[in-house]
């Protein structure tokens, strides 16, 4: 009797949680997506394809993807180093360091761009040096990279820290005491444990880097065909009353973001057999297969 009641209550809660999830997601994610897609295809698919394959769109896409290729490796490297330092050791000033890593989050993107100009601009701190070298960073492609690095700075580290903190150091310690080197320990013990968080961090950085507008807008100089990224290109199209094309290019970004789904499935599939998960826990539906 008691177990019956409990299991029916459990089922009820599960039902409600799913309902809330679906409602929330529909309200906040599906409907805006619907608006974008319906606007993008409102004038027929040929208009859509013409907008997506337009030369300026392709130039913007190239710049966005090149930026991505440069920032991802740097973000991964930094994220792992920072998370490792923060979670595996005890030292003074740790919470300050942790807060410092979050700092770029709290900097409004527009201000981030402003700060970069103060730093690297013509009247900036390093301005005289750059002028002497005749290199331009601000208002040229490198500025897009630096600005994107700044806004995506904490993502990987932030995803890794909570998880690595929870996992503690016991496994690594065991590995080290068995004579493994630091790198061996990392690759064989730590990395397998954190790969999902790392993966989410990469997804977040990718998505954010592709969609970043505010900071890039301030430092790019908006030179057509040279320093226009996809989001800037969308703004241009929208401001030229070319709504269909603007939303068509936006939906391109949506597609890129959704393609992480495919990547995720592949990674799951590759590592799926090793991951077995106990079922039957709290609020877990017993009939669900493993992901």
């Amino acid at each position: 009797m008691d177990t019956d009641m409990r299991s029916s209550m459990q089922r009820l809660i599960q039902f409600f949680m799913r309902c809330i999830t679906i409602t929330f997601v529909v309200l906040f994610l599906v409907l805006p997506l619907y608006v974008i897609l319906s606007e993008a295809t409102g004038e027929g698919m040929s208009v859509f394809f013409r907008a997506v394959t337009h030369q300026e769109t392709l130039q913007a896409l190239t710049l966005t993807i090149c930026t991505l290729f440069i920032i991802l490796p740097l973000n991964i490297l930094f994220g792992i180093a920072a998370a490792w330092t923060l979670t595996k050791y005890e030292f003074r000033g740790k919470s300050v360091l942790s807060a410092l890593i979050d700092l770029p989050f709290s900097v409004p993107p527009v201000i981030a761009g402003f700060i970069l100009i103060l730093f690297l601009g013509r009247h900036g701190t390093l301005g005289f040096l750059l002028e002497k070298l005749d290199t331009q960073i601000i208002f040229a492609a490198p500025a897009v990279i630096v600005a994107t690095l700044f806004v995506t700075f904490p993502f990987v580290a932030r995803e890794l820290v909570p998880l690595m903190q929870e996992q503690g150091v016991d496994e690594e310690q065991a590995a080290v005491s068995l004579g493994a080197s630091a790198f061996q320990t990392f690759f064989h013990v730590t990395l397998p444990n954190i790969k999902w968080a790392l993966f989410y961090g990469i997804i977040l950085s990718t998505a954010r880097a592709m969609g970043e507008f505010g900071a890039v807008s301030v430092v790019s100089g908006h030179i057509r065909g040279k320093t226009i990224t996809l989001p800037l290109h969308i703004e241009i199209l929208y401001n030229e009353y070319n709504f269909t094309a603007a939303f068509a290019v936006s939906s391109l970004l949506v597609t890129l973001a959704m393609s992480t789904l495919v990547v995720k499935e592949i990674v799951y599939w590759r590592s799926g057999k090793k991951q077995t998960r106990p079922t039957g826990g709290f609020l877990e539906s017993p009939e669900t297969p493993d992901l």
């Binding site: 180093a81 005890e90 003074r92 360091l97 409004p108 080290v176 703004e235 970004l253 709290f282 669900t288």
Partner: protein
Amino acid sequence: MIRQIKQKHFLPGFGIGLGFTLSYLSLLVLIPLSILAVKSLSLDWTVYRSLLIDPRTYAAIKLTFLSSLVAAGINLVFGFIVAWTLVRLPFPGSRLIDALIDLPFALPTAVSGIALTSLYVRTGLLGRYLEPYGVQAAFAPLGVIIALTFIGLPFVVRTLQPALQDIDKEYEEAAISLGASPFRVFASVIFPSIRPAMLTGFSLAFARALGEYGSVVFISGNMPMKTEIVSLLIVGKMERFDYEGATALAAITLLASFLILLAINLTQWHYSRKVQQTG
């Protein structure tokens, strides 16, 4: 000086890890930010005074902080439910939802703003159902909250997901078998283990909301004293070459949000230390 207090574990790599972290952090974040700090400190204090007594600035600061707080709160509650459902209660189509979560990130904020405005304006898909009840979403503070909730959602969900995946279910099962109610299990078993992730997610969503500009300017209507956010004032000052005012206002906002982040981080470390001591 930062140094290891006690070699709690004899794990190698502390030097290189900390060194790399610090130098990268300095190069990209600390040095640029300290330039802002220096600039803002060298300003005449009358610049700050005129900002702080300006009712319009005050109204903007109040709106920005309150709506960010509300949006982060909404995200914490619903983000937890979404993350839990995705991790523990998958159903047909839940993977699609999983992929959708990153949408607010990948979309340029302006596009999000435009899409949300189309939805909530009184002729829009949702706005037309709200209007008969006298609820104005677009061009009102509610619109600001909606936009901030939208852009903050992935932070909470994506931070909670790995933590939920990693929960050890033994305690949960033990608690259930001992007859604890689901809420009890949540409060005393699940919540403590995902608290760091929840705090992180909340603070990220909150911090992100504080600085948001692109999406909010479309949906808020930018009415002075009512729906103007701080970022808009900063941008406005910059457009009128009022660098001093912009720097001062940026410094105030940054300081406030940094203090909040620091407080949240301190809470997190306080808890984790307590857990280590008792456990």
